[in-house]
């Protein structure tokens, strides 16, 4: 599974970057600076999407006491935090030439920053508790409470008067951007998905091995590998 997703991620990444840099035209307002969109939007979408997935599995782990779902949630957090950081970083580098400022305390930016803190809080809390099962439960609670932030991020551009623009792409309306720009962006979104799946599965496997080290099957596996 992991090689398939890794391969798909690389192919889509190359295709997305090609479309983004060589096919998509120059924006009539923003010039070439808009090309940051090809990482900014996928990263921002992934940061929110991964949080929901993480909270979902953490919640399942909390409700049904299934260890694997909790481990999966733990594995998602660093990748989600990374995408949140990238969204904020590329946003700052985009904001400087377009808005004239790296950072502004408006609703969209602030709620995305809170998302980063939620990821960091989740990871720190789990790291601070020695017993992994208790860490899972404590983490699940912070993850579930934090879900409330996701709709706030998403609708922040409608609810408040923000410097950040509204959504250019929505399910119900035709997207307000050129087709090739949209294509490049969507390919990059799929690349991010494939990348996230590959990386998260890989991290999940490591976490399983770490946590289940006392069990017979890990010892068995080890025996096979060393012989």
């Amino acid at each position: 599974m992991i090689p398939i997703f890794s391969f798909a991620a690389i192919v889509l990444l190359v295709a997305g970057l090609y479309v983004g840099f060589f096919v998509a035209p120059t924006d009539f307002q923003q010039g070439e600076a808009y090309r940051i969109i090809f990482i900014h939007v996928p990263a921002a979408w992934m940061s929110m999407f991964l949080y929901v997935v993480m909270a979902f599995w953490a919640g399942i782990g909390l409700a049904f006491n299934t260890r694997l779902s909790s481990m999966f949630a733990t594995a998602i957090a660093p990748t989600g935090a990374m995408f949140t950081f990238i969204a904020l970083w590329t946003g700052a580098l985009w904001g400087k030439p377009m808005w004239g400022t790296w950072w502004v305390w408006d609703a969209r930016l602030t709620s995305e920053l809170i998302l980063l803190f939620l990821y960091i809080g989740f990871m720190s809390l789990q790291a601070a508790i020695d017993d992994p099962r208790r860490a899972d439960k404590a983490g699940a609670i912070i993850a579930l409470v934090g879900v409330v932030n996701i709709p706030i991020i998403y609708f922040s551009v409608q609810w408040w008067n923000t410097l950040h623009q509204g959504a250019s792409v929505s399910v119900t309306q035709a997207p307000a951007m050129a087709t090739t720009m949209l294509m490049g962006m969507l390919i990059m979104v799929f690349a991010s998905w494939m990348y996230s799946i590959a990386v998260i599965l890989k991290r999940t496997r490591v976490i399983i091995l770490e946590r289940e080290s006392h069990t017979a099957w890990v010892a068995e596996l080890q025996r096979k590998e060393t012989v």
Partner: protein
């Protein structure tokens, strides 16, 4: 094709710092994440084989399949 020369491509219409600053940092994050996970896995494998070696020494009669 948008670019007539390589230097034009790298300058990004004067926004090179912002565009490449975004792409390079993203690239570093992604590569860094992959390396961190591989490293974590390798450490784990090393530790396990160490434990296994110790077990072997303690139980010399154990048959390994």
């Amino acid at each position: 094709m948008n670019w007539s020369s390589a230097s034009e491509f790298f300058s990004m219409g004067g926004y090179g710092l912002y565009v490449w600053g975004s792409y390079i940092v993203t690239f570093i994050c992604v590569i860094g994440e992959i390396l961190l996970i591989s490293n974590r896995r390798r450490t784990l494998e090393k530790r396990y084989s160490l434990i296994h070696d110790l077990n072997k020494k303690e139980m010399p009669n154990e048959t390994t399949s």
